[in-house]
Symmetry: D2
Subunit: 139 residues, 4 copies
Amino acid sequence: MDITEYELRVRYAETDQMGVAHHSHYLVWCEAARTDHMRRRGVSYRDLELQGLKLPVVDARVRFRQASRFDDLIRVRCWVRDVASRRVSFGYAIERCDDGVLLATAQTSLVAVDSNYVLTTIPPEIRAKLVPIPDPVRL
Amino acid sequence: MDITEYELRVRYAETDQMGVAHHSHYLVWCEAARTDHMRRRGVSYRDLELQGLKLPVVDARVRFRQASRFDDLIRVRCWVRDVASRRVSFGYAIERCDDGVLLATAQTSLVAVDSNYVLTTIPPEIRAKLVPIPDPVRL
Amino acid sequence: MDITEYELRVRYAETDQMGVAHHSHYLVWCEAARTDHMRRRGVSYRDLELQGLKLPVVDARVRFRQASRFDDLIRVRCWVRDVASRRVSFGYAIERCDDGVLLATAQTSLVAVDSNYVLTTIPPEIRAKLVPIPDPVRL
Amino acid sequence: MDITEYELRVRYAETDQMGVAHHSHYLVWCEAARTDHMRRRGVSYRDLELQGLKLPVVDARVRFRQASRFDDLIRVRCWVRDVASRRVSFGYAIERCDDGVLLATAQTSLVAVDSNYVLTTIPPEIRAKLVPIPDPVRL
């Protein structure tokens, strides 16, 4: 449960004229995997926002190793790298399901802000559910 | 001033593996042109939302005649087709700047809703600025 | 098998500041459902393109009835409306899984073009697999 | 000419339910600025691809400092950070035009590949036009 495996299929709209998935979509996939990971850990991001807590991304890095293509089944592995009172970082390994080839790695850091977009603290009961683990792959 | 000409350049991220701009982006371009058209008519859509009025799209149609490609300069001509107490419709002609070729036509209808997403009336002073004209091209 | 039910979850990146899924994404969802429908009927769109046949969208219409929100589970029902030698039309009903509410209906028409983007014929063996049915809902 | 200033307006479709531009779009904006920078330096990326040379992004990092909002006028400053035989890196500073506030910084690295997606060399005449400068801001 420390690592969530989130699967998706590359959409046609996500390809570009290079014939591969456009690099900006990897951040969208990571976000979908992160939401799923939080859900599995008992944290509904949707509910967090309804309660007035938002987690905007403040830092994002993606390293692209192999391209992914239309209709490829992709698996995004997602885990917590680090958590502090106001900040949480996630790691991602994006793989092709077919042959397990590592396509990309990524990391994003998010901070907690309130409804007025002012820095705030991640509630302890949320933080307790976001347990960091060592990176399973080199990011 | 009845027709706004809004120019944009096709972004790489907007292409797909067919080597042309993906059809879903035309709705985004129409929206950008519509926002610009309203601004030129004295209606800031940003301010409308701050005042609690939203205009969600309830009907959209696009007819694609010619493809557009990466780096093409595109002109979206936008006008009001029809306005009623709770609904306003816009028309669009999307052309390539280079040679004036008509790439697509589109129409969208929007309704007024309040902050709770309940149907409401377009304020008369806004409506007065959204003057419909006959379609300059067949949609 | 005449109607494919394709499920997806609304991504955060697909929402807009109105707090709902942006209308342009419905076309992307329809496309994903259409690809899936074709696959289930024995037609891999990926392979079609590798063989030099493309099916660009030439007409798209979406009617939005209810908004969808972040994290909503959505079901896109997709079917063939009509097929001719060079053109095929699909219908879509987009529903919220939770309560079955119809969120939107859509229709798209696609034409067959070759690698040079010249109109061509849908191969008979492909066409035979794209069997039209009467619309199960009013579009 | 060493730094290109590329302006854009935040589109409605680029916002998310947090009420700000979604972080994934910054990569799209950087790409548009990069294409423009190359054009001003005499390199048409469109022509490069037509000649069989592609420059996929292999590494991307964005640091987000302040949010941008719908309808904000944004300026992306773009420059070359480093160029080698097969790789070129760009830096970006994304600012709000209104008050010059720095919203984000970014860096991307691209490699040269041929039509078969095999690593290749950036032609010397292209490389000569991509002159690196020291970062004008801390990335």
